[in-house]
């Protein structure tokens, strides 16, 4: 359930992953997203311990900048597959308010239908979602953009 929220990028991912009916292909799709995620767009200084998500097998950084009360996330990982996953997550759920973020649930992750992933990585994505909600509640971890 996506509820009342307008999540165009998320809907695109859901649709793309629905169309790909082969697990190996879904797997390659995520690798592709990871490869295409421009390394340059995630600033070096954002790769700090403070922005690191703890408890992951690979390193995951997520930053959140608020603008007009809405949260805009960017994510990065040193592993391509995880970079693909975090890219999907930050693109899917950027542009929401903290309250809207809080309405997101594990069901949103499940609906991505990432059967090609192990349970462990699904859990990792749910942890990313929880982390993003937390950042949202804290008002982001980058200086807010003045409107």
């Amino acid at each position: 359930m996506t509820g009342e929220l307008d999540l165009p990028r998320y809907d695109e991912f859901v649709e793309a992953l629905e169309i790909i009916d082969d697990e190996d292909m879904r797997f390659e799709y995520i690798i592709d997203i990871g490869k295409k995620a421009g390394d340059g767009s995630f600033a070096d200084e954002w790769m700090s311990d403070g922005n690191l998500m703890h408890g992951c097998m690979s390193k995951v950084w997520i930053v959140d900048r608020m603008k007009d009360g809405r949260h805009y996330f960017q994510g990065f990982s040193d592993a391509i597959i995880v970079k693909g996953l975090v890219t999907m997550m930050v693109q899917s759920f950027s542009g929401l308010t903290a309250d809207e973020l809080n309405t997101l649930s594990e069901e949103h992750v499940r609906k991505l239908n990432l059967g090609a992933l192990t349970t462990q990585r699904q859990v990792g994505m749910m942890a990313m979602l929880e982390h993003m909600k937390k950042l949202g509640r804290a008002g982001g971890n980058l200086p807010a953009d003045a409107a």
Binding site: E23, I31, M57, S58, D78, A79, I80, I81, T118, R121
Partner: protein
């Protein structure tokens, strides 16, 4: 009556008795492990994660099923037939373990849940009683967290010190470095027999000689050691030896702590409860003798019985044969994997078990392992519960292929092909 199913003629073993000098028939052995027939992600399973936990032969599965189906009950409470049967089978497993490691008596064999509990038991009883502030416990750079954290806890509690024996960049353990670490404050050596990451083997017998010459007892973490070659605790002369059932083709939830009689006798109980007492009143309690003193509460009964079956299985194959087979695989893996461009071995000690940690140039180990998984190749990735070793080696983690008795050259080929696939997909 034994709860362990006797071996009539298990499929994988028929060739062994005929020619005990040759390695076993690997295809027959593989048929003893039902799980090896399955596919993963549509590909035949290539199981290279025995270092984390080994698969189980039918003999173990049957012994566990038979116990639950025909004679299961609680142990040491035996007013009735089933309890007596279960007690006999449980205690027989202890004797099987005793013989397997050549302990002087079954009273030297304490059942625990795993190696972690075995080491914690020693730290919490012997360690708490005999170690004082400033005393040193010697470990190596390649210990598993299970052989670091319990001693760290004593460091916090009692002010003991950890002294760490370095390894070489190649992953070799040098006995002279160990000897140099021994000092007047050394009160215990707690050391792995075989690194779970590097496969490096430690010359435990020599370690014990050097430590004992200074009156220092030795605890051996045998989790990875005992699965690859024979262990004789009297020959090693170690004071404690810990190993776990699930890496030795037995059930999870059962571990073993061997202790010399004088060590176990000197130790207070670990946990309090039923089964570990002689007499209880509200005024006074008399504890049982070892090993039961250390086995409070209902023990892992069927797991112990399953471990007994697993030991019988590997004994029938012959630990020397298993060792020879795995060393042949390791040599082949070194040759085959070493030929892959960008492949980097992490740890190439002169004396090592069939464990291959590696990295692939330019690729994150996590990504490599994920692609391997898609190819049906099961490996472990990460820090392998050995974070200090990762720091020492200057890596964030590795991919680890760990071989078991059922692996064959085709598994190495499949691993090599999957690594090439990873390079293609991720590069």
């Amino acid at each position: 009556m034994s709860g362990v199913k006797p071996i009539d003629n298990p499929a994988g073993l028929s060739g062994v008795g005929d020619n005990s000098t040759s390695a076993f028939n690997i295809e027959q052995v593989r048929r003893d492990f039902p799980i090896l027939e399955r596919q993963v992600h549509g590909k035949p399973l290539v199981y290279l994660d025995s270092g984390a936990s080994a698969q189980k032969p039918r003999m173990v599965i049957d012994a566990v099923r038979e116990a639950y189906e025909t004679y299961y009950s609680n142990v040491h409470r035996g007013a009735h037939y089933l309890s007596q049967r279960s007690t006999d089978a449980y205690e027989e497993a202890r004797v099987i373990v005793q013989r397997f490691i050549n302990a002087p008596s079954d009273k030297n064999i304490v059942f625990t849940h795993n190696v972690t509990e075995a080491i914690n038991l020693v730290a919490a009883t012997w360690g708490r009683k005999f170690l004082e502030e400033g005393d040193e416990v010697i470990v190596t750079e390649m210990e598993h967290h299970a052989n670091i954290v319990p001693w760290h806890m004593l460091r916090v509690e009692k002010g003991i010190k950890l002294k760490v024996v370095p390894i070489t960049d190649n992953g070799d353990f040098r006995i002279e470095d160990f000897e140099a670490a021994l000092g007047p404050k050394t009160k215990l050596v707690a050391i792995t027999e075989c690194s779970n990451v590097l496969g490096t083997r430690v010359p435990i017998k020599r370690v014990c000689e050097l430590a004992h010459a200074r009156g220092v007892p030795v605890l051996v973490d045998g989790a990875q050691g005992i699965v690859h070659q024979p262990v004789d605790v009297q020959d090693l002369d170690c004071d404690f030896y810990a190993f776990t059932g699930h890496k030795l083709y037995g059930p999870s939830g059962i571990g073993v702590l061997y202790g010399k009689a004088e060590m176990l006798d000197s130790m207070p109980p670990y946990q309090g409860g039923g089964d570990m007492i002689e007499r209880v009143s509200f005024d006074d309690i008399t504890y049982a003798e070892p090993p039961h003193r250390f086995e409070a509460g209902t023990p892992p009964i069927v797991q112990a019985i399953g471990l007994g079956a697993a030991i019988r299985y590997v004994e029938q194959l012959g630990m020397d044969n298993i060792h020879a087979h795995e060393q042949g695989l390791l040599a082949y893996a070194n040759e085959r994997l070493g030929a892959i461009e960008g492949f980097r071995f992490i740890g190439q000690a002169a004396d090592k078990a069939a464990i291959v940690s590696f990295l692939v140039e330019g690729l994150h180990p996590f990504d490599v392992a994920a692609v391997l998984d898609r190819q049906g190749v099961a490996v472990r990735v990460g820090q392998h519960c050995a974070e200090p070793l990762m720091d020492r080696l200057g890596v964030d983690g590795t991919v680890r292929a760990s071989f078991g008795l059922y692996n064959r050259r085709e598994d190495v080929d499949a691993l090599a092909a999957a690594i090439e696939k990873a390079k293609e997909m991720l590069g």
